[in-house]
Amino acid sequence: MPAPTPPEKKPDRHYDFRGTNIVFALCSLGLLAVTLLMVIMDYGRPWKRVQAEFRDLERQSIVRDLEQEQQAINEQQMATVLQEITAAEEGLEQRGSEVEAFEDSIAVLDKRVFESDKLMRARKTQIDAAKWQYDIALQDGGERSIASAREKIDTLTLEWQQYQRATEAYIEQREAEQDKLAEVLSTQTRGEGRLGDLNAALDGLNTRLSTVEKDLDYFMLNAPLMDFLAPSLKIEQVVLPGLFHDIQFAKIDRVDRCMTCHVASNRDGFDGEEWTNPYRSHPRLDLFVADASPHPYGRFGCTVCHAGLDRATDFSRAGHSPVDDEQRDAWIEKYNWESQPFLHTPILPLNMTEAGCIGCHADEVWTPQATVQDTGRQLINKLGCYGCHQIGLAAFEDLPKVGPDLTKVASKVDDAWAATWIEAPRKFRPTTWMPHFFFQVNIEGEVNQGRQRAEIEAIVDFLWSVSEEVEYAPAPAGDATRGEDLFYSIGCTGCHILDSEAERADFTDALHRLHGPNLAGLGSKVSRDWVYAWLRDPKSYRPDTAMPNLRLTDQEAADLSTFVVASRRPEFENLERAELDEGIRAELVATYLRQTMTIEQSEARVLAMSAEEQSVYLGERSITKYGCFGCHNIAGFADVKPIGVELTEEASKPLHLFDFGHLHDLPHTHRDWLRTKITTPRIFDQGKELVLNYSELAKMPNFGLSDAEAEAVLANLIGFRKESVLEDRKAGRGERGENLAAGRRIVTRFNCQGCHLIEEVGHAIRAALRDENNLPPNLAAEGVRTQADWLFSFLHDPSQVSLRPWLDVRMPTFQFSDEQANDLVAYFASIDEADPFASEPEAGSARSRAIGEEIFNMLQCAKCHPASADAIAASGGAVGELAPSLLLARERLRHEWVPHWIKDPQGFIPGTKMPTNFPTTSTGGFSSPLGMAINQATYAGEKRRMMRYFDSEEGLNTFLSDVDLVSAALRDHIWTMSN
């Protein structure tokens, strides 16, 4: 018999009580641990640490300020005030009984006012009751009761009036007593007031200090689990309607949280050395972030300019991008930084911040004050990137081709020179914008080298086969020395340099000076006859050239052409066309033919073609391949589409669409790829050169960009992002914006800033002037200064008037269309926010004109300004060499502007030769010295004549001391002058 098993303990439940307890216990412990962990992690979020640390730093800074302030308070002043207070207090003690008496009597009067007022109110109530009784009597009672009720009302009314008077009298008495008391106390109050003034700064700091103390309140409010109530450490965010964040085709409003850590960015004063990021004030609070700036934080936030993930409150996730490796390593150490491969728009590194302007400002052509970006914009304009790549932004649309017209090239240069040039343009002219297409890093092996040679020669053969032949008449003899003087004085140097040593990188900050080619070595490129014809009329060679007509006489053109062709590079003269491998050329031709023919057909066709036919055919195909027509007018290529990819939204293209090739050391960011592409465009073929078909090799040419040039171009490229701003939120909306954009395009096209200062940029010619006095005018305030009609006709034909006869530099004739001239007039008016069409000038009153004439003589205005044709003749030309003729004023200047100009010329155009006649006062205004001067004996005549218009000397003095009246009178006198 088997041993009986012990009876199992019969469970009283269907589950294991103990086991469940253990599970529950473990679960709840686990949950507790997780909860605690959550609390700890939440409490330890990095931004909280940042805010807490800032609070400490701010407190320390205030404490320092307090100490300084305390030291700064003038001890003497303080002592005097304290003494005053003490004296007053002593005085009060002495007059203690007096004060007490006043206080007592006020107290007594208080009581009386109260009593009397109480009685008055009681009577008022009784009157109301009596009136009611009167009503009752009228209804039911007899005559007697009516009379008695009436009597009662009268008596009560009388009493009520008495009490009212008494109350008023007591109040008056009390006020009188109070005034007397205040008088006695006033010395002390005054002293305390002054003490308060002295301590105001201290009090302000103390108040600030109390807000940043880490006291019990602070710890309670921010304690874990308590901080849901009203924590002082909290996420700071701003919702930005209309500024979108593009997430998978959905546009959602940005919610910027940057100020959660960048706590002081909207506050002034956190920019000393002791403040490091994220605690610093934003630079240029006059422009950004501050409420009064054009870009207040509440309207624009941060990420619309800086990019990055708007909602992030973690350093890495926000998308901070280091400027360089050093910063990257520092960030890794300090913030545990890692790159965000899935964030398409990481924060722009600090040196690229200006790229952020493009999102809203692209329609305005340029963004004033964004200097790096503007350098990049100018570079893109000069390099002609838009010739191959469409860039759908106002600054880069509908622009003329950057390179010279090649439709008449055979009559301009030698074919062998052209081949040498195409092979390596920077060899002949290091400053050129024309890039290198041939023999780049991805061209390896003898065969490919041979193909390059064949293409170069073929391109020249094709161009020569389609070029017009123009004969140039022999230029008259010229003098190089006179030509040199002209070159350096009439304004050529606003756009050209002539310097064989110049490097393009030296001009990155002065791109206006490279608007036209460096003319060094010109004599080895073109003939003097060509230069002479070109100078006489640039548009006859190329109708859309930016080169203006300088209205040179035959002799001037001869002298100037003699001077410029004297610069030569003999090693580029009498060149021979290069040898090439005809087999390689035939193979290239066959490859192209094979696109539309069978192998057999193409081979037969090649055999049927002459060597010249082959070369011309290959040339045409090569021009198509390299996109030469993007920058040059070439016969037969008028309507061919550009060959490059569109760049309008290049920086928003997902990163995986960029081919990094085998460059494993290159960080995988948009910025690094783009920088590498524009500096070494063929590098991504590395390792694949010999397996790729010849036609598959990268074709983008090498522009030889310096680091600074590349960074500037990049500061635009990185800003070419997908539309993420509501149209209405962009800058440059409305008529003014359109006018600015249209004007800026013309200003860029014709390089007006090479000579003039416009929108505070320009005067590039200054560096090349041999005489500083020959500097072309600063066009600040041109919009409020000149009349629209006058400016319009002047732009059309600057030769009609000699405005500043002392200048050798010439305003050229640009042959503007009416539309262009109108655009420029509207542009200048829009810069100054002036009405383009000013009102008709009015004549001043006879009185004002007559007084104006006397003042004009007293101030000796005619010492510099010609005021009549006779004066110019009499001075033998000396007058007129200093200042514009006033005979032009009425036609040219705006009536309302002239007095403002007379008053404060430096305020409109800093550095102008025109002085103010009115010394500045200590308050920043102007004072007229005429009121004093008129009483000198010298001006007795003027005084007598002016007195005709005044009743008293005082009246005259008042007039002459009023700067506005005086300048208006001068204007009214000037308005009487005319040719």
């Binding site: 609390v39 700890i40 409490y43 330890g44 640490r49 807490a52 640390e53 400490d56 730093l57 320390q60 800074s61 320092r64 300084q68 880490k214 710890f219 309670m220 304690a223 874990p224 689990l225 308590m226 000393g272 050395e273 002791e274 006095n773 007293m858 101030l859 000796q860 010492k863 510099c864 001075s875 000396a878 060499e881 200093l882 010329p905 430096q906 800093p910 550095g911 102008t912 030769k913 025109m914 002085p915 103010t916 006649n917 010394p919 010295p929 001067a933 000198q936 010298t938």
Partner: protein, 258 residues
């Protein structure tokens, strides 16, 4: 019910306090370095002297005559030719109108003198042609001529001004906030008129006289870099070591065309 809520608050608070204690109560105090720059103390007075002569080696006649015909009033104020003040050299080759000053090596602050430095416009020339003054010191420009002058200063560090003086005897006063060597003055009415003014933060400067001599007095002992400035010849530097109450000679020799 109300009671229960109060209790839970107290509980939370005490928990909070405990947590805080556990977490060390937040960030540690890391006081940034105090960088308050107190004003330099007044410098000790000295009694040393640096003197010398400025010469110009040139075989050419550098005199240039000024043509004042453009303004008959100016021409009428002179009998005979007026020489340019740009190159003033005596027969021994001593050069005037050179500004010599202590460029570096000084410490402490030097209060600006209360009396004004004066430039006169007399005979359509600026007198003196070269001068120095201190930051905060008043410059007074006087027109002594019966014709219009304009005082046009083109500083780089200080504020530009351009003030007409149409009346004889007119004065204008300015002070300058920053040191600057040199501020050019010109009169746009009379293009030949020019003057140069240096603004320094100390009084140790001199302008060479017609015999080329100069003398800087009252220097404290020390090692200084002196600079001599001329409007067309440029600058030259020299080191000077002076002892208290000592006096040393430093000469400057310019070369034309250098």
């Amino acid at each position: 019910m109300k009671r229960a809520r109060t209790w839970s608050l107290v509980l939370f608070s005490s928990l909070a306090v405990l947590m805080m204690a556990a977490c060390g109560g937040g960030s540690e105090d890391s006081a940034p370095v105090v960088s308050a720059a107190p004003a330099a103390p007044p410098a000790a007075a000295g009694n040393a002297t640096v003197s010398g002569t400025v010469t110009l080696a040139s075989g050419e006649d550098l005199d240039i005559t000024i043509q004042m015909n453009a303004d008959p009033v100016c021409a009428g104020l002179h009998e005979g030719d007026v020489q340019s003040e740009t190159m003033v050299i005596d027969d021994e080759g001593n050069l005037a109108n050179v500004f010599i000053y202590v460029k570096s090596g000084l410490s402490g602050s030097f209060p600006a003198p209360s009396q004004a430095a004066i430039i006169s416009q007399k005979g359509c020339l600026y007198t003196p042609h070269v001068l120095g003054l201190q930051v905060g010191q008043t410059l007074k420009v006087v027109n002594q001529d019966p014709t219009l002058h304009n005082v046009h200063a083109s500083p780089k560090e200080n504020a530009e001004f351009n003030q007409a003086q149409p009346f004889q005897g007119m004065e204008l006063e300015r002070t300058f906030d920053s040191t600057e060597v040199m501020i050019p003055f010109k009169c746009d009415v009379h293009p030949w008129m020019s003057a140069y003014m240096a603004v320094l933060d100390h009084p140790f400067f001199a302008v060479s006289a017609t015999d080329g001599s100069f003398s800087i007095e009252g220097l404290p002992a020390g090692t200084y870099t002196l600079e001599a400035w001329h409007e067309v010849l440029g600058t030259q530097s020299a080191e000077a070591i002076v002892e208290a109450d000592g006096s040393i000679e430093v000469d400057f020799a310019f070369e034309a065309g250098a």
